[in-house]
């Protein structure tokens, strides 16, 4: 083959690669498509999750049923401590069934923010050729933080539907924390036999609206990308704690404050790494504080140190 012919072929190949690259969906498009796919497909399958905890690894198996647009039931089959537990989500409402307590309780739903937009603002996503998951072709999406010291993800999206079939979570240190993967999945099956299981529980008492016996303090510093997404009052024994919630779209920071006797046994400061989060507890005056988040402990400490002291009026 002559040199001009080779050069011509090479240029053609480069141009074609450019056209293909232009035609391929970007990471952002894939994420949006995947979110939309949840709203437009039913599915049913068996999902296995492996979680790395300090000095041990645990595995859970769960039967998952999803009815479009936003109803998902996850029933855990193992390990023994979780077997029989059910999580049911219907849009913003979520319930938890405990086989031991034999009752439903409501749990925190998604934050009332455009979480995907927030995530796209703070994370880059890059598609690369993926492998097969549950015998289906997938695109692998690498989701990396734009600001260092945050967790990252690997998502395997089904090529045909966009559904996420496998999700790996790496903590802020880039240690692999969890792998959650469908071992088998049926897409758009007939779910008429499942409708009983996909109805909201008849009685799941709302958490009584709690009043705090103190005025919570707010941090003056937040790591780049995080925004305040809500607050809640939760019971801890006979006390009530404030739960201030912050998110960057993928990661979260939880700040708890309660009367000192509620949880802080350690003073002045305890710092515990739990692989999937950092946990710091401390006591200041009459209040106990705990902060949790999967991010650089230096940043978390900075948030903790920035909490403005408040005039306590607690008992």
């Amino acid at each position: 083959m002559s040199l001009p012919t080779r050069a011509l072929l090479a240029s053609a190949a480069v141009a074609l690669a450019g056209v293909i690259a232009q035609g391929a969906p970007s990471g952002e498009e894939l994420l949006r498509h995947s979110e939309q796919a949840e709203r437009s497909h039913n599915y049913r399958g068996l999902r296995v999750t492996r979680m790395s905890l300090p000095r041990r690894t645990v595995t859970a198996e769960a039967r998952v049923v999803h009815r479009r647009p936003a109803t998902t039931r996850v029933e855990y089959l193992s390990p023994r401590s979780l077997a029989g537990t059910v999580l049911l989500q219907m849009g913003p409402e979520r319930w938890h069934w405990s086989p031991r307590g034999r009752r439903w309780r409501r749990v925190s739903g998604p934050a009332e923010v455009e979480a995907l937009e927030l995530m796209l603002r703070n994370y880059d996503s890059r598609p690369v050729p993926g492998a097969r998951v549950a015998r289906r072709d997938c695109v692998l999406l690498l989701v990396n933080p734009k600001h260092e010291g945050n967790p990252r993800k690997r998502l395997w999206m089904d090529r045909a539907t966009g559904l996420c079939l496998r999700s790996d979570l790496l903590n802020w240190k880039q240690d692999e924390i969890s792998v959650s993967v469908f071992k088998e999945i049926e897409i758009d099956p007939d779910l008429s036999g499942e409708s009983q299981k996909l109805t909201p529980p008849a009685s799941a008492p709302r958490r009584p609206p709690g009043t705090l016996a103190f005025k919570p303090g707010y941090p003056r510093y937040l790591p780049v990308g995080y925004v305040f997404v809500g607050t809640d009052v939760i019971p801890i024994g006979r006390y009530r704690a404030a739960h201030l919630r912050y998110s960057d779209g993928l990661n979260t920071i939880s700040l708890f404050q309660a009367p000192a006797a509620a949880f802080a046994q350690r003073t002045p400061f305890a710092d515990v790494g739990l692989s999937f989060t950092q946990l710091m507890t401390w006591r200041r005056g009459n209040l106990a504080y705990a902060i949790m988040g999967d991010l650089n402990p230096g940043e978390l400490r900075r948030v903790a140190d920035s909490i403005a002291p408040t005039a306590s009026r607690q008992r």
Binding site: R47, T49, M51, R56, P79, S81, L82, I234, D271, D294
Partner: protein
């Protein structure tokens, strides 16, 4: 919740070994137990005694003993615990002496094996205090509600981490 049930649950929590179900993992039970412990000084004291014993064992080192050493020692303490009705009839001093004696035997037995394997990493990852467990649950619920949230992983982590690594 009555004292008898609370103490049985406390015993299960304190002596649960790795992979074993623990009532603390159960969000349906944990709040009621905690509520009881707040209001019952005797159960709190019982829990404290068992915790001290366990932490003394932990402080001896992080290396795992031969499969049967700790379970055997713990069974001895459990028996002691289960026969508390008989102990109730004894004097407070005698009861304390018995508990202290059982603790000393367990610690000595474990210590003999674990001597020389002490690690300096007692703080890292080893101590999520009991009453922080509901906070970990809340954190996990919140985090798993994010887009592409790790629902299963967070549920698993919250239920398994309530007490840090079990021995």
């Amino acid at each position: 919740m009555k004292c008898e049930r609370a103490r049985r649950l406390v015993e299960d929590i304190i002596f649960a070994s790795e992979g074993e179900a623990s009532p603390r993992d159960d969000v349906g039970i944990a709040p009621a137990l905690e509520e009881h412990l707040w209001s019952c000084a005797r159960c709190r004291a019982a829990m404290r005694e068992l915790r001290i014993l366990r932490s003394q064992l932990h402080a001896l080192g992080h290396r795992r003993a031969p499969q049967d050493l700790l379970p055997r020692a713990m069974r001895a303490v459990r028996l002691d615990w289960r026969h508390r009705s008989a102990m109730r009839r004894t004097s407070v001093h005698l009861r304390r002496a018995l508990v202290a004696g059982a603790a000393a035997v367990v610690i000595a037995a474990a210590g003999a094996y674990l001597a020389g394997h002490r690690t300096s990493n007692l703080a890292a990852g080893s101590s999520v205090t009991a009453n922080v467990a509901p906070l970990v649950m809340e954190y996990a619920d919140f985090r798993s509600a994010q887009p592409f949230g790790d629902r299963d992983g967070m549920t698993l982590a919250a239920t398994q981490t309530a007490e840090g690594p079990r021995r």
